[in-house]
């Protein structure tokens, strides 16, 4: 179903990108996502899994490099175009949209370093990749640490009591890594590279952390089993282990000196993605519900003609539009200023995911018993939406972090340049 865009100023390019992403979402993502959802997590990444031809197709169309600058071979999309494409892809599948985006995270961050050697070694091959064989992941959460790893401003964050599960020690010109990341690393068991958060100076708690790029074929790296979970089953997640893994000194591109403010930059970008994808998920639920209400007859007339259904459908529509407005405004701000105003990314993530969850809940309520069955998409959407309230920072932690920013930074001065 085509969905109207309130923005009448979309360019021809914007519309072409939207339509292409929509077609890809409908024809490629929906069927593969449905298949993966019904397979075990291990089957989902087995050699004969439909995941691999899907990734190959996604890479050949360039969807893995949406966030990367054109200069290095990325798509070079504007902030609005990024939002539009993300929304369409997540309409097809939230889990697969996340899969084809998170693959770029290590390479996106390397672009910031402006280091020729690292760009030649990591970024350009990733941009040139058309078969899905180079895949990154964002390895931050740990068995003993989840959202608290993002909780800058909480008393615990820089306490020496916060013992990281992955430690890095400098030995000569090499970093030596030991420890384990949690089963929640998206793409964890299928990635070739990681953007890895490690603890360098335990005396500073998580404020003593750093970030490195890590090729995952190095000696000492091993991976766990793919994680079984209720939602986003089309998104591979799993543990990564490090046993005396050695990397060159310059692979550690963030050190404790500026880890905390840089973590906020990474969080702001990740939360913008979550917000945009959640709008697509909200829309998918709205589409399913609206179509059903026009077909399903109850009490002698289609559901849509019942007063309560009209009201519920309108509420769902209002959430899509509200979420889209927030997501677009936040992405337009924070992909246009550096460093970003993180609180707007947090608003977008927390609100858009809550609205997506409500919409998938309402869609099931409208479909009644049918909404609970595997025959209809709504139950998958509901399970997928439930995960969004937790991933990339649970919403409660993100809200507390937002409050901390307000305490420290408000009233914000206008941009003065």
């Amino acid at each position: 179903m085509r969905y109207f865009d309130i923005n009448l100023d979309l360019s021809e390019d914007d519309i072409a990108l939207r339509d292409a992403a929509r077609q890809f979402a409908e024809q490629e993502m929906r069927p593969v996502a449905r298949q993966l959802d019904q397979m075990s997590a291990e089957e989902g990444v087995a050699e004969d899994s439909p995941l691999w031809p899907f990734l190959k197709k996604a890479y050949s169309l360039g969807y893995h490099k949406i966030l990367l600058p054109e200069y290095y071979g990325g798509l070079g999309l504007s902030p609005l175009q990024t939002n539009i494409v993300f929304e369409e892809l997540a309409w097809g599948s939230f889990g697969l949209a996340l899969t084809v985006t998170v693959v770029c995270f290590p390479f996106y961050c390397i672009c910031m370093t402006n280091n020729d050697e690292m760009i030649e070694k990591f970024v350009k091959p990733f941009c040139d990749c058309t078969d899905g064989s180079i895949r990154g992941c964002w390895a931050i959460t740990e068995p003993e640490h989840g959202s608290d790893m993002l909780a800058v401003g909480e008393e615990c964050f820089d306490s020496p009591n916060m013992k990281g599960n992955v430690r890095a020690k400098l030995e000569g010109e090499q970093w030596v890594l030991n420890g384990q990341k949690s089963a929640w690393v998206s793409g964890g068991t299928i990635s070739t590279h990681a953007m890895l958060h490690v603890q360098i100076d335990p005396s500073k708690g998580f404020a003593g952390n750093g970030v490195c790029i890590l090729p995952l074929d190095l000696q000492g790296v091993s991976k766990g089993k793919p994680l079984e979970k209720i939602g986003q089953r089309d998104l591979n997640q799993g543990e990564i282990y490090f046993d005396d893994v050695r990397i060159p000194k310059d692979y550690m591109f963030v050190d404790p000196d500026f880890y905390v403010p840089l973590l906020d930059i990474i969080l702001a970008a990740a939360n913008l993605c979550m917000a945009s994808w959640s709008v697509g998920l909200s829309r998918a639920a709205f589409d399913e519900a609206l179509n059903y209400t026009k077909e399903r007859v109850q009490g002698g007339k289609p559901l849509i003609e019942h007063y309560t259904t009209k009201q519920r459908i309108f509420d769902m529509f209002a959430r899509v539009e509200t979420a889209r407005a927030i997501a677009r405004a936040a992405i337009n701000l924070n992909l246009n200023i550096s460093p970003p105003h993180v609180e707007y990314s947090l608003v977008a993530k927390t609100q858009c995911t809550e609205m997506a969850f409500k919409n998938t809940h309402d869609a099931i309520q409208i479909l009644g018993g049918n909404g609970l069955t595997k025959e209809y998409l709504t139950e998958k959407l509901f399970r997928d939406a439930r995960s969004t309230l937790i991933e990339d920072g649970n919403n409660e932690t993100l809200s507390r972090h937002g409050g901390h920013i307000l305490m420290e930074s408000y009233p914000r001065a206008p941009l003065d340049f």
């Binding site: 966030l67 990367l68 600058p69 054109e70 200069y71 990325g74 070079g76 999309l77 504007s78 902030p79 961050c109 672009c111 910031m112 370093t113 402006n114 020729d116 760009i119 591109f253 963030v254 000196d257 500026f258 403010p261 840089l262 906020d264 930059i265 992909l335 246009n336 200023i337 550096s338 460093p339 941009l415 003065d416 340049f417």
Partner: protein, 130 residues
């Protein structure tokens, strides 16, 4: 005490930008990318706008609408051109602030490299510390 005066900065960067545009790959690449840049500098207060035609300063620069704006103080400008600034750290700690699509900002950094190679000779010419 700022690293350079407004007069020195205007003369130095007037020459540097023109040399970059006319004699290095920066000129054609800037034109090809269709990018324009505004540098807003504190201490000394100076505003520079650069497109493929060359630099403009102060009121003429302020009247332009750039693709990317970057704000920093004079000392940071000097360190930036000497490659003594690590960009992720400078952005994270607000030593450098940028406005414009993040993708364009990331694209700008490699474009400026020919200027970073030339800058030390201008430091010698204008008696600036390296």
């Amino acid at each position: 005490m700022p690293i350079f005066t407004k007069e020195v900065a205007t003369e130095l960067f007037g020459e540097l930008w023109m040399k970059m545009i006319n004699e290095t790959e920066f000129g054609p690449k800037l034109k090809e990318s269709n990018m324009t840049i505004l540098f807003v500098v504190d201490e000394p207060d100076i505003t520079m706008f650069v497109d493929a035609n060359g630099p403009l300063f102060d009121d003429e620069a302020k009247a332009k609408v750039p693709t990317v704006s970057m704000k920093m103080n004079g000392d940071t400008v000097h360190k930036f051109w000497l490659k003594q600034i690590f960009i992720p750290k400078a952005l994270a700690t607000r030593q450098i602030r940028a406005k414009g699509p993040v993708g364009k900002v990331l694209q700008l950094l490699p474009l400026l490299k020919p200027g970073q190679a030339l800058y030390p000779e201008y430091c010698k010419k204008f008696n600036l510390p390296i």
